[in-house]
């Protein structure tokens, strides 16, 4: 799924990366709303060019472009369904542009915010630390557990295991030699992680502090004001000028 690459955080030092995740999230939601509100090609094009500027500021245009290739499949689906179910070529273009606008709003946010920042924003929003921490840890350990899976899978294949062999029931049974070691390993890992957290006093104090508290800086205020202007002008375009 190459288009998923447009959502994977990459560490970079840019104006956008330094923004507070909360203000970025606000702008990203506003952009998504706007892209759903309008069916006018001009508006969508303006919106997308704005997003391109944001992606450029985040030095992430490359990732965005490579994700476009992954979207080709979805464009095809859109055009085919439009043409089959009474739409026009024009509506196909509109919907495709909308898809681009939607996915860019999200990818801009995810490309530039660490999973940790997102977790931090979640806990500022009032979610309990246990929950936000589970979220970041899940993301942190996905590649580690994936490596373990690969190693187990390779080992069992070298013992003659062939997953594709046999009927449905055989195939389910064939999964056991992979699932059991993976489960045992993951449970063991969970214990070890819990130990390591405990010896670093996790849960010791109900009022945990944060080393890098989230602070809104001038850039964030600009983003917030811009989001507000965007909402107002979108509403104005829609209601006063009647743009579709």
């Amino acid at each position: 799924m190459s288009f998923l690459r447009a959502f994977k955080y990459r560490r970079k030092d840019t104006v956008v990366h330094r923004l507070d995740p909360r203000s970025k999230f606000l702008l990203s939601v506003v952009l998504m709303m706007v892209s759903i509100m309008f069916a006018d090609i001009r508006v969508l094009l303006v919106l997308i060019s704005g997003q391109l500027i944001l992606l450029f500021l985040a030095k992430s245009l490359g990732e965005w472009f490579s994700s476009l290739r992954g979207l080709v499949f979805f464009f095809a689906v859109i055009f085919i369904t439009q043409l089959l179910f009474g739409g026009t070529f024009y509506t196909g273009i509109v919907l495709s542009l909308r898809l681009v606008a939607l996915s860019s709003s999200m990818s801009w946010f995810f490309l530039s915010s660490t999973p940790e920042d997102i977790g931090r924003a979640m806990s500022v929003a009032g979610l309990p630390i246990e929950l936000t921490f589970s979220f970041t840890m899940a993301i942190r350990f996905i590649p580690v557990i994936y490596d373990e899976f690969q190693s187990i899978y390779d080992t069992q294949r070298s013992r003659g295991l062939e997953l594709e062999k046999g009927g449905f029931r055989d195939r389910i049974r064939n999964l056991m030699p992979i699932l059991i070691p993976l489960l045992v390993g993951t449970i063991r890992r969970t214990y070890e992680i819990a130990d390591a957290m405990e010896v670093r006093a996790f849960g010791a104090s109900p009022k945990r502090t944060t080393y890098k508290p989230l602070k809104l800086k001038s850039g964030d205020y600009i983003v917030c004001i811009a989001s507000a202007i965007l909402v107002v002008s979108a509403l104005a375009l829609k209601m006063v000028y009647g743009v579709e």
Partner: protein, 267 residues
Amino acid sequence: MTNIDLTIEEGESVLITGPSGCGKSTLARVLMGLIPHSYPGELEGEAYVFDMDVKNTPVSRIATRCGIVFQNPDNQLFTFSVEDDVAFGPENLALPPDEIGRRVDEALRLVGIEHLRHSSPNNLSGGEQQKAAIASILSMKPSLLIFDEPTSMLDPSSSASLIERIFELKRSLDEAGGKTTVIIVEHRIDLLLKHLSRIIVISEGRVVLDGEPLRVLEESFRRGIPINIPPMLQIYFRVKDRCGLEKPPTTVRELICMLGGSVSRNG
């Protein structure tokens, strides 16, 4: 484990070793209070760490005096940057942010990984991850450091560099006026030997030997306890009486010179 009686003084560098499955890792977990708090099982008798009774003190309290680095480098770092992991402990202690900042700077400097500050643990080598794990323990300012087989998943050059770093760290903490105690649980003896003040050998859940490193190794050799005695000493212990050697060689060349010397002396 049965009937373990031990006192370790401040400032010592102790190796706890013994055949696999002898109970050495269990002992490390008792000292941290992880046993009996987090594991089922029976703990009889008493264990005190800095006058804190491990049975009745929460692990998080013990953690402010005593830190432990575990075997598996992968499972000790939970965040996306080394810096955040080092800050994790002090954050849990609810310290003010500027104090945490100072501690993070110092811990990274002591372990020599300032350049990895913003790296993600996923992208570090095993040796670097272990160093980051040490830094994340140091930020709690413990004066007792326990290492539970810290090099068992590392290659020889990373292991050597890690061990050197651990004792450099102890030296610089001691120079700054502290009295840091290091307890290492390990199979590997060769890399550690020159740094140790004491070796404790555990076998079948009991302390069988305890004392000055060389004496302990020689005694385990005589009794045939299967611990990893460095090759040089393996030969030294076998020939020393018959050749009248008085001190152990540190290099192969020295061993040969000693043997040659003893021959010419005797002849």
